[in-house]
Symmetry: C2
DNA sequence: TCGCGCGCTTGATCTGGGTCAATGATGACC
DNA sequence: GGTCATCATTGACCCAGATCAAGCGCGCGA
């Protein structure tokens, strides 16, 4: 699984989010070396299932580009998305063998993977990687719990606004382009995927997006390209009290 | 905060869940010593708020007895419970200062606390405590995500059945009394608290409990004492495909 | 260039659970 | 042992969002 470009990116932290996020802040040469040895890239096509629920996972890794979703499905077909993986997000559960949900690429993706067993050994030797993983897991837990409020208590309109503001926020921090106070981004999900995230039907998603557009909260170009003229207005619609660190 | 009984329980792992779960599996004398030094007990009364959302937390700890809830509240008063703390559950976020939600005791409680800063130092020195915390956080994340499916996709009846089966399961594993194939337990929550957990109203909770009783899925004695004659029937009602490790 | 499929929109109708309101149990406190 | 407060139940009605159904528009392959 080793390939030629490993050496060339050995100290290019921007390339590989896991290295960037988990290690580089306090990087030490031998750790980088060991990480490089167990690192490889994998490509996935849009629609491809990366891991099936219950499958054994023999790697951990992080998203370099593209988007994936974590979903749970009941026997009768009802599905709920329980996580959204954007570039720099971590995938995998050190110390656990199986995945409790399906991981599906919704766009073409590149992942930076590490073989699981050696990664865990490395983790055992280097406490700050373990520490970084705890940090990431706590972040995911916070996100999951915030989403529980969305699922349990918000109206359809608030749910849509919440999703849009999360995507806008992530997009802005990734691209560092909070340009002229308005936000522009492409929706990385179909209406159906949004519905699965929000606990709604795709028809309701469509209607509420139309409503937000009609009311001037968002502008749409085609079906996916969104511009948000006033982000605080969107947050208002989401029923959020905080700006999530977007506005100062 | 040190008190006299510390020495007497120094090696009684059953008494203090955090020590039992986080440390004792591979316990080493000096760690126990250091844990004892920063440990103290706190009592809370039913209804008392342990931590307000946004508050600084200067301790971590675990539940010895009683029940607490983690809740998030919107400005207009809508609230969603995002976690339920039963005996042996861990409270606190090593490395984080504030709490993102209210922690409220719903019964009288005893907690075993550790001052946060020294606990973090101990964690930095002893990798397997950090490892144990990662494990616990992953468990919480799994639970939160399973709950997202409940909140987003299940009907009111399924939600109630899901909650009952979770409580029954926890209760049984704690008390090790899977006696004569039927389960008996007391509901530790009011109808309103259940509603807040399930994203329902208390009226709907009441109606669905009555319906499950009418249909013979559960039996009620008073308002809180529940017996489940057939656990797999309850799991069926919950729409769950697995038995959660209860039945073999 | 056509048509065909997929993602999306919009309309009509239905229904699960919310809302509002009245009434019942239980137990603590005087 | 009566009063009051808290928790729970039940009924009547309503509405947000689900369901069912009909099109629309755009990209793609023949």
């Amino acid at each position: 699984m080793l390939n030629e470009d490993i050496k060339t990116v050995a100290h290019d932290c921007g390339d590989c989010p896991i290295r960037h996020r988990a290690v580089c802040a306090r990087c030490e040469a031998d750790e980088l070396e060991r990480l490089e040895e167990i690192k490889y890239y994998r490509n996935f096509q849009a629609g491809q299932t990366i891991i099936w629920s219950g499958d054994r996972m023999d790697f951990v890794g992080s998203v370099v580009s593209g988007i994936a979703t974590l979903t749970q499905t009941m026997e009768d077909g009802r599905t709920q998305m329980v996580g959204l993986l954007l570039p720099s997000d971590f995938v995998g559960r050190p110390g656990r063998d199986g995945s409790p949900y399906d991981v599906v690429a919704t766009t073409d993706m590149v992942m930076c993977c590490f073989r699981k067993k050696p990664f865990e050994e490395l983790m055992a030797d280097t406490p700050h990687i373990a520490h970084r993983l705890l940090e990431m897991t706590l972040d995911e837990l916070d996100a999951a719990r915030e989403w529980m409020l969305v699922l349990g208590r918000k109206t359809a309109r608030e749910k849509i606004a919440s999703l849009l503001s999360i995507i806008a926020r992530r997009d802005a921090t990734l691209n560092l382009q909070t340009q002229q106070n308005s936000l522009v981004f492409d929706l990385p999900l179909t209406r159906e995927a949004m519905a699965d995230y929000l606990g709604l039907t795709l028809e309701t998603v469509s209607r509420q997006i139309s409503a937000l557009k009609r009311d001037g909260v968002i502008e749409l170009e085609g079906k996916r390209h969104v511009t948000v003229p006033d982000f605080s207005r969107l947050l208002d619609e989401a029923g959020d009290d905080s700006d999530g660190g977007m506005l100062s």
